[in-house]
Each structure stands twice: as structure tokens, then as C-alpha cells.
């Protein structure tokens, strides 16, 4: 079956600088896909190519199997909410939202009805007659959202639409976006550099790093099984310890940590040729005990800081050779009450919960 939206081998060069390199992506109809990545990683560039506002250097974009590269933006029927404010400053809020319908020459009554409904959706009914200059940033982005949705485009692109809003308003509009997505079945491509926002909204996330997609998957997949150190750092919290790769079998490595501890059965990513790697641990998957555990890998450590964070306790520990490790203990854990700064403890983990990334290529 052909995917609804397909990006194939997309690249965009600016002179000798490569902003996007060989991006491949297949999106199902009605899917909520998020591009997550740090500033300058090529998210907007990819989105602009989809919108037709930028021509990719190579590659193709297809909707329902047909290439849209030759279709000019105004006939792509794609909605977009920009990173910057792009309302028409000389038109009122209502005229802005009605603009896509009026350029399509819809009857005035229909325009008025749909504009009213959209303004209700973004809760700006009372602002219909204002000019954009008289609105706050968040209100302007909500008008932009209404303008992008009013003509019911099958694909909606959103480039960090909520970046300028405060936390409460952002979460409110995130809920709206989810509801609108559920109700309309529109396919959404959403750009953000906020992992929480990505996890909250998306069906799947594509993690961008320096112009390439490091990994595509659901939030849980990215968290459980990050393909690169970059993804591991970007989704969830992580600890890293340098280690040596002793042997590899079926994607599982035997590694040696400083202090002579050897661990078998750690999932390994990357090319182990150089023999050096970094072990990734999730703070909430580390167990802490006073006595050395009877089985399984365990590291001796010293407690540094203790921070109580409501549902859990954040422990900053240091290994004997001075590597910082953060550990998260659920509140009510047996040792929580008696822990103190300077205590010597054992940190243990299951090899399957850990992950090793070879540091050879690219030095990342």
C-alpha cells in the first residue's frame, strides 16, 4: 500500500552547507507526526519543502503516490502555521480567518459561519473585529491556527506554533490541537524542540539532528530503544559512563567499566571497531541499595546531593572514579528515609535496560 505522504531522499543544500540530508519518511493518513530536534537541525527546512515554499536540492515528496514538487504552494491545499507571526496586519481577525475561503470564492454566508466556528474553536470569538497588532502573541498564533484549519486541508504543517506561549496556554492549546486532530482526522506534521510537547501530542516522532533523521518511532520506542546517543539524550533523562567493548554477539555486547566491572548482554549501537563506547543508563531504571546485590552488575558510588521532587527523590551520585550519575528513586523506596550525603551505596541495573553507543564514528 502506498503511504499517504511520502518524503523520499530529500536533501537541501545551501551552497556547501547541507541543511537537510537524505530524509526519508512515510506518514499515514490522519497520523500526527512530530519533527523533534534542536535549533538548526533542519526541521523547518523540511517543512518548507513540503509546503512548496522552498525547493529541495534533491529527493521527492509524494501525496497518495503523486509527486507534488511541481505543484505551486497555493494549489497544494496544505495548511501551515508558521514559526513567526504571519497574520495579515491590515485585515481584522475575522477577515484573516476568512481569507482562505474568500480567495476560494466561497459564498459570504458560508465564510461567516465557518469563521465563527473556527474562532470559537480557538476561543477568540470576542476578538473578531480586532487587528492583529492589537492581539498578544498567543492570540495571534491561535488566529493563525484557525486560518490554517478553516478550509479543512488534508495536511496541516505546524512550525513551532506554541513556542512563544506560556506553559499554561501552551498546554491548553496542545489539548485543542489534539482534539482538532481527533475530530477532523487531519494529517499533522508538527515541529518542536520540546520533547514533552512531542511526547504529549504525537503518534510518532522523527528525531532530527544536524540535518538527518536519527530515528523515527513512537515516544515509547525512542525512549526504550534509542538508536543514537543523541536520541537517548533528547528523549528522557540519561546517564553516560565510558566503557570498553570486550565482545559483541547478536547486537549484544560485553563491556568493561572502569573499576574492572564487566557486564554482558548490553544492547549495542554503532560500529564497535574502535573498542570504545558509552554506556547509557536511565536514572529511573537504576536500583540503589546499601549492601552489594547478590547478583547482576553493580557499581559502588557515593551520594552527593538529594533532591525531593514530590513523587520521587532525585539522587546525584558519583562513581569511585568521579563520574556523576543521577538516580531517581520512587518515593517510599525502602532506603529513601535514611539516605544522607556521603553515604556509600551500590547502584545496580539490568543489562537489558542499559544501552551502549560506540563513540568511534563522528565522535558524537
Amino acid at each position: 500500500m502506498t503511504p499517504f505522504l511520502e518524503i523520499a531522499g530529500l536533501s537541501r543544500h545551501f551552497g556547501s552547507f547541507v541543511a537537510v540530508r537524505d530524509v526519508n519518511l512515510e506518514i499515514r493518513k490522519g497520523e500526527f507526526m512530530t519533527f523533534l530536534g534542536p535549533s538548526g537541525s533542519g526541521k523547518s527546512t523540511t517543512l518548507y519543502a513540503l509546503a512548496g515554499l522552498d525547493t529541495p536540492t534533491s529527493g521527492n515528496i509524494r501525496i497518495e503516490g503523486k509527486s507534488i514538487l511541481d505543484v505551486p504552494p497555493h494549489r497544494r491545499n496544505i495548511g501551515m502555521v508558521f514559526q513567526r507571526y504571519t497574520l495579515f496586519p491590515h485585515l481584522t481577525v475575522a477577515e484573516n480567518v476568512g481569507f482562505p475561503l474568500s480567495v476560494r470564492r466561497r459564498p459570504a454566508a458560508e465564510i461567516a459561519a465557518k469563521v465563527g466556528r473556527m474562532l470559537e474553536l480557538v476561543r477568540l470569538q470576542d476578538f473578531a473585529q480586532r487587528k492583529p497588532g492589537q492581539l498578544s502573541g498567543g492570540q495571534q498564533q491561535r488566529v493563525a491556527l484557525a486560518r490554517a484549519l478553516v478550509y479543512e486541508p488534508p495536511v496541516l504543517l505546524m512550525d513551532e506554533p506554541l513556542a512563544a506561549l506560556d506553559k499554561k496556554l501552551r498546554e491548553e492549546i496542545q489539548c485543542e490541537i489534539r482534539r482538532i486532530h481527533r475530530e477532523t482526522g487531519v494529517t499533522i506534521l508538527y515541529v518542536t524542540h520540546d520533547q514533552e510537547e512531542a511526547l504529549r501530542l504525537s503518534d510518532r516522532i522523527a528525531v532530527f539532528s544536524k540535518g538527518v533523521i536519527d530515528q523515527i518511532g513512537t515516544g515509547a520506542e525512542l525512549y526504550e530503544n534509542p538508536a543514537t546517543r543523541f536520541v537517548a539524550e533528547f528523549i528522557g533523562d540519561s546517564d553516560f559512563l565510558p566503557c570498553d567493548v570486550l565482545a559483541v554477539r547478536d547486537g549484544l555486547a560485553s563491556i568493561g567499566l572502569s573499576g574492572g566491572l564487566a557486564v554482558d548482554g548490553v544492547p549495542l549501537h554503532g560500529n564497535p571497531a574502535a573498542g570504545k563506547a558509552e554506556l547509557m543508563l536511565r536514572p529511573e531504571r537504576i536500583s540503589l541499595s546499601r549492601a552489594m546485590p547478590a547478583s547482576g552488575p553493580a557499581l559502588p558510588a557515593v551520594i552527593g546531593d538529594l533532591t525531593f521532587l514530590g513523587s520521587h527523590l532525585q539522587v546525584a551520585a558519583a562513581t569511585l572514579d568521579g563520574r556523576a550519575l543521577s538516580v531517581r528513586l520512587p518515593f517510599g523506596h525502602e532506603v529513601v528515609g535514611s539516605l544522607a550525603r556521603g553515604d556509600e551505596v551500590w547502584l545496580s541495573f539490568r543489562p537489558a535496560d542499559a544501552c551502549a553507543f560506540c563513540s568511534a564514528q563522528g565522535g558524537s
Binding site: 509546503a51 512548496g52 515554499l53 505551486p72 504552494p73 497555493h74 494549489r75 497544494r76 491545499n77 496544505i78 495548511g79 501551515m80 508558521f82 513567526r84 504571519t86 497574520l87 495579515f88 496586519p89 491590515h90 481569507f99 482562505p100 480567495v103 476560494r104 497588532g133 492589537q134 493563525a144 486560518r147 490554517a148 478550509y151
Partner: protein
């Protein structure tokens, strides 16, 4: 925003300070502009006898009203043509790489700083019966007889259009540069064709610049003297030439004053209209 300024308007103290600061300029204006204009006004209603006879003659006689019509027609045509040429030029300047636009601006400013007479004589050379333009057209076989391009209103229009062009290009360039290209991209994604985006988004946003540039050119054209005097014919005078003739050749200060005041009042009412419609925003202030 007008409401905002009304709410936080300058306090009385601030107003007094700004009045004080404006005093030198204001007194200069009064001594060298307002007083002479007043004197002219008085002469126009007092000479040769008290009354409005000068105005009646000016507006009543067919010779003089022809000159008024000429003046307004030429000014209007010059305004429209400069806008038609100036808008795309300013648009192109705003889009082109900065190196190129700086070059074009250099040429533009250089031509503005070149002596007006020199530039006008240059047009005479180009436009005359045996000039470059006529000869080229004849050589190309487009025309048999040289076109009468000079010593008439055609010559005046061509010469003035050239001189006025920078006065529309500069304000339009300023306005266009301030428009975020993303707004036009948004219009395209909303489904607007290029024509719709131009008419419904770009044009309204550029309108203040068009108004300022157009008004400036129109008003300057109304009172322009050098170009009509050199490129125009004796049969088709313009208002400024008429005023000069009254004052210099005929030494008729009464008629000269009346003509000058007609010009001044038209100019002022146009300026007022523009302020009403577009405020001062197009003038670069906020």
C-alpha cells in the same frame, strides 16, 4: 495606534519643551515663508484694485484655465507613470541581492545630485527631431517622420517623469522592505494566487508608500518650473511658467500672486486629504 497615543499623550511640560525646541525652525518659517505668502496674498487681492478681480480673470479666461488644465493633466500623468515604473522598480530593488540594489541606488542618487539643467538639456538632446530616439526609431523603420517629442507637453511629461522617479522609488522601497516575506508565503499557502496575493495583501500594505510617493510627485509636478520651461513649448505653458511670466515679464504681482495662491491651496488641500486617509505613518514617523 492612535488610541494609545491619546492615552499616553505628551504632558503639558513636554509639550512646552517641544514647542521651545521647534522655535528656531518655526521663526525661520514665519519670516521666510508665511510672511512673504501673506504679502503675496494681499497683493493678489489689492492690485491693481481691491477685490477678487485677479482670481476671476485667472479662473474665468480660457487661456488661463487651459494652463491650469495642462498643469493638472501633466502632473497626473507624471504621477501615474512614475508609480507604474517606480513600483516594480522598488519591488525588484527590495528583492535583489544587496550588492545590486546598492549599485542601483548609487546611480539613482548620483542622478538626483547632478545639476537639474544638465539633466534637462540631456533630454533635449535625446528627444529633439534629430535626436537619438527619433533617429533610432527611423533607422529601425518603425516611423517615417520624426516624432514631435520636445517643445510640447509630451517632452515635459517625459522629462518630469524621469526627474520624479526617485521620489516614488525611495518611499516605496522603504515600505516594501518592511513587509515580512513570510506574510506573502502565508497568503500563498492560504490558496491565494499570485494576483490575489498582490491585490489583497501586498497592495494594501504598500498603499501608504504609494500615497506618500504619489502625492509628493503630484505636488512637485504642479509647481515645477525648469523642465516645462526647457522641454515645453510656448503654446502649452504650465502654472509655474505662468507665475514666472506674470512676475518677471509682465510685472503683474496681482495676477502672479493669485496664480501662486491657487497652486498653494491645491497643494495644501491634497496634503490634508492624504493625512486624513493615511495618517502620518507613511511619512516614516510612527
Amino acid at each position: 495606534m492612535p488610541q494609545a497615543t491619546a492615552l499616553v499623550g505628551p504632558s503639558r511640560g513636554q509639550r512646552r519643551t517641544s514647542l521651545l525646541l521647534a522655535l528656531p525652525a518655526l521663526s525661520l518659517l514665519i519670516v521666510f515663508f508665511a510672511l512673504p505668502v501673506l504679502a503675496l496674498l494681499l497683493r493678489s487681492v489689492l492690485e491693481p484694485a481691491p477685490g477678487f478681480s485677479n482670481y476671476v480673470t485667472l479662473l474665468g479666461s480660457s487661456t488661463y484655465s487651459r494652463i491650469l488644465v495642462n498643469t493638472f493633466t501633466v502632473s497626473a500623468v507624471v504621477t501615474v507613470v512614475t508609480l507604474l515604473i517606480g513600483f516594480p522598480t522598488a519591488w525588484a530593488l527590495a528583492l535583489m541581492p544587496p550588492i545590486w540594489s546598492r549599485l542601483v541606488f548609487g546611480v539613482l542618487l548620483l542622478s538626483m545630485w547632478t545639476n537639474l539643467l544638465t539633466r534637462t538639456y540631456a533630454w533635449m538632446v535625446l528627444l529633439q527631431r534629430t535626436g537619438v530616439i527619433n533617429r533610432t526609431l527611423i533607422d529601425l523603420g518603425i516611423i517615417d517622420q520624426p516624432l514631435p517629442l520636445v517643445n510640447n507637453l509630451t517632452g515635459v511629461t517625459i522629462g518630469m517623469t524621469y526627474i520624479m522617479l526617485p521620489f516614488v522609488i525611495l518611499p516605496l522601497y522603504g515600505v516594501i522592505r518592511r513587509i515580512d516575506p513570510a506574510i506573502l508565503q502565508a497568503a500563498a499557502l492560504c490558496g491565494a494566487t499570485r494576483a490575489q496575493a498582490f491585490r489583497r495583501v501586498l497592495l494594501p500594505l504598500v498603499m501608504p508608500g504609494i500615497a506618500v510617493g504619489g502625492l509628493m510627485v503630484f505636488v512637485m509636478s504642479l509647481g515645477y518650473f525648469v523642465t516645462p520651461a526647457l522641454l515645453g513649448g510656448t503654446a502649452n505653458m504650465m502654472l509655474a511658467e505662468l507665475i514666472a511670466q506674470f512676475v518677471q515679464s509682465l510685472v503683474n504681482w496681482g495676477m502672479g500672486g493669485a496664480a501662486a495662491l491657487v497652486l498653494l491651496s491645491v497643494t495644501l488641500s491634497l496634503y490634508t486629504l492624504q493625512l486624513r486617509l493615511f495618517g502620518t505613518s507613511g511619512l516614516g514617523g510612527r
